[in-house]
Symmetry: D3
């Protein structure tokens, strides 16, 4: 089984971290391909960045017909609907995967994410996925995405403190990590916090494996059918189908 | 990995069907144990039956400390919260698993279930799981649970017709089968209907495998902590902890 | 008129307290029968206890065909749907009765309950009954159910403090007591707090009287029709119909 | 116990019908006072009529300090919040009472009302009371309010047909009558339809009796405190407090 | 274009303030007519006041057939549905206008209003308008309506403090002023707070201008059709149509 | 006042139609600039097209610092959050504008749109804007976007039929046109249908004028602050800030 894990930003070192986390979660025999888009932002910290990460994500999907499933490794699940139209295999966003997995492991969850301005998008996603009630809180630890790996020990301690406070204030019983750049932290945090800690990259990887094993292709009925052929112009000329 | 699949009713032939379906969906190396409770109703077709299936389900869990995960193979997810308190490993209901898997494979789903009087319970579950909006309709084909295997060809054709009509009237793009007794039908139906068809036994099995592989124990924080010790009396004396 | 008030746990002294509260609320001429199930937990403080209280509750109902209405005197409303299928007369849970009565007496209510791990179930009930918005908060005073009557003065003071704080923090204007074991406290608390304080046993009793006086039998249409006949096996053999 | 039942419109014959229905539902010893406001519309069939019925309703309440409870006998529950501020005893609207009683007697209810233009208001009320989900449909039989008593047999047959169709199309199991002018019909309809049929006048009467018997005054905390004293001018001069 | 701005209370000085604010917001050429009803409360600070302000509002509308639009300048939007039936031109309440405008200018808004007992009504309006989620908080600064203009500097400072705290505690990014009597404050507050501050009188005025310019008459289909002719009696005799 | 109306697709003739509609709705003195992006799809009929229209939209905004407001003239409101971050003046999507205007003119609205596969996105938008309940139905007339202007008479008749049926089946009282390419139809349709018909281009134009006249800049607090500076690579290199 081949699962392509797409880092929607263009920072290679983060792609490597993500691919390692996915591989660690995958079953023996599953091949993980980490992919960095050829275009887009170095990190995703605004609606602007997120919107502009989507063309690169879609290009990766279009160029990888052999994948059995795709994972979008950014907690904003950028372009998920478009990706599902384009792909003929399952596509999982890490926010959707992490939050749905959390609901299987506890009564409610808190999200610990990077910067405050992404909190609104995360709440939007809870509503799209029907999890607004089960999400007890979303907390920013105010570490920029690319700073996560610059001082890993500081990141760990800050995230730990934020998660501990979230459990206390929200009355929740699961922690969801709100950034693919935190993919190396869950077990260390879980030991300390005494509750499940879910990284979306790992969660999306095992869910993708499960869907592939079930042998069920995603629906291509009506709304998720392949996009109708269309002329594209200018810089995006090559996205025409 | 050992997954115990519990048939909450006491009909052995149905347990066998369920265990086979789970095994077919499981990864190589996963051991599926099908279990029939020692007490309870021959089939579950009312709130009364469902409530009275729970003691038997809980007994199976209490007596099986070696399982890595449990699957409750009845679409009412009977006793799920109690089971999660009692177990220290993941417990998945097939309704929750099937409906959450459906949301990864399409925009909305329709449920095709057995008898009309169970439709209300299925809607209740969509609300508990936050999937009320994504569930586009719940349709009874009016075949009693134990009749499903008596005339399989008739069951297949009736369910096929009900599913086809559900897709049309609901505008949905995925079918969820609303009874563990339909576990042998998905691929045949999917071929005919042209949309994903999800059986909860298979869905719960692969989700359980994924959670076990992640190595994350479910939360035992507060509400899902083990039940406090208590004296039980009368017929249920042995359920005291 | 005969109203059977069922204490879903098996502690006789609590049944007596409950029956007295119901009798005090009832109109002259109403006969209150307090009943303790023959099986089940000594108190209900977990999903596990609640699920295992249901068989005893259903047995009481099945054995009491002369009752004009039933009251389930546990704030989790255990087995309410199953009880409504089985009974041909109104069945009221004290959580449903107390919360609906509260909405007739104020703009929003706060619940003061026993132990923290039952708070989730109480929120679930607000959603089932459509009262999630009107319920402004649910607060545990961390007194175990059976400890309520061991030191009544301490219980009273703790509940008073919890209720006062709930009114302040929630901005609500009615208090609902979240345990049948608090049935002797409302008037004393109300005097002190200056807002309505509702005990579910009393509320359910007067609502049951009202429904009986209206002469309206509950619906037995479709979903709430009597459970279909079924073989039961093992310990629960006698629950077969 | 004295319950004042207010007909918010100024048609005396309708007040008589309403008072009779309330008396028929009341316990022995309860005195029902039917009241017609001194001002306002002959019937209520628009938002305009409803708004202009409120001054008359409030005047009746202000002039009746001896009542133990009030019932507002119009399915729009006109001025309910204002009435609750003004009164120091329970005030029940018949829509709220009928719909909450319906949820104690079945899984979902359908409303059969008079004219189509009142359907929107009835849906608004379901949302205010948290019953939007439990209300499966609202159906107008297109009989104007005052025509109900002109040809009672025709009204009965039209309402019966509308209710039968509502049960079929909505999949509901209780009928709520959406006009105080239908207060004489429930038992006849119930016999024919085989489901509970609820008239709000009767429902509000027994609920009011229950609240009075509990001895619980409604909250006068904050929002429902008596209106602050204020100068009123012009035609409404006498409403100043 | 002629827009009639109705002050639902009977305090002339407040009508003047409101009319000035409307004129300041209006386009060149728009004529603003400020109107004080001939009857009703001196200010609106309870459900009682609000209900009794409606007849005066409706009378103004009935007597002004030349208006191109009406603005109801009280944050409770009193009698809005009735006014829309009666008028054949657009009618805007200032709460609806302010809150909808706020959603065009930020992600969520906080309301700063006068007295605490009106907070419940404001929340009710957010639900009616579908803005419950976007409204992050409603805060009373406990200045009675008519006191706002008695010590304007004190009012300004109190409202500023309340708004600053609301932004902090709610995490919102727009302030909505919850009383027509605050219509002179927005720009001064906005400069200080650094976020948009919306007065409903100005917002309703420009929205009304826009609707008039579109040339679209409001719907008079079914529910919002003119009220059916009806006899009115007593004090309200002249409201008969 | 200068309002830039952006056609998110790259078809010039459609930009012209849109600009004309905006100009027709605008007040005297308002300058409308119609803009076609330099890159992207010829029409927007899928999530894929919509996602790939966003870079072109953002480029237009970045290159037009003199605009007083922007209108995004595609009913999917593509990239609205990102556009609001980037712009320092109001940005209105035509779906949001049309639907919010509809709620000022009637009790509920129906949307008539182009192709069926865009219906899901339109429902998503109703939820984001809090209008799910007020939207009574979304109907596709199955005319592709660019075919609208090829046979205008056929388009008109098809849309008329679809709208008439929507009013009937949905019980709504306002029609919202779900495509910028229908901007020339509202008055003709309204005359025939007897209810308000709203084109989003016109609605967004007058709302934008109103916000500009209020002199209120949109919030740039926290989530809608300008995007943080960031390196962009590849094809999208120039989007770096």
């Amino acid at each position: 089984m081949r699962i392509t894990v797409i880092n929607p930003n263009t920072t290679e070192s983060m792609t490597e971290l993500i691919a390692e986390s996915a591989q660690a979660a995958a079953a023996p025999g599953t091949v993980i391909n980490g992919r960095t888009p050829s275009m887009g932002p170095a990190s995703i910290e605004s609606h602007y960045d997120e919107a502009l990460s989507v063309p690169g994500v879609l290009q990766v999907i279009a160029q990888d017909p052999a994948a059995d499933a795709f994972v979008l490794a950014c907690f904003g699940d950028p372009g998920l609907d478009a990706a599902r139209e384009l792909a003929t295999v399952p596509v999982l966003g890490i926010a959707e995967a992490a939050m749905k997995a959390a609901t299987l492991l506890g009564r409610s969850f808190s999200v610990v994410t990077t910067v405050g301005r992404t909190v609104g998008r995360a709440w939007d996603l809870t509503r799209i996925y029907g999890l607004e009630r089960q999400c007890a809180g979303i907390h920013a630890c105010e570490i920029p995405v690319l700073a996560l790996e610059q001082d890993p020990e500081h990141s760990y301690r800050t995230i730990l403190a934020s998660a501990a406070q979230a459990l206390e204030s929200d009355g929740s019983d699961v922690i969801v990590l709100g950034c693919a750049g935190m993919a190396d932290l869950p077990s260390r945090l879980a030991t300390k916090l005494g509750v499940p800690v879910i990284d979306g990259v790992a969660a999306a990887t095992v869910l993708a494996e499960g869907l592939v094993r079930l042998g069920i292709r995603p629906s291509d009925h009506d709304e998720l059918a392949p996009p109708p052929p269309k002329t594209y112009t200018g810089l995006l000329h090559d996205f025409g189908i």
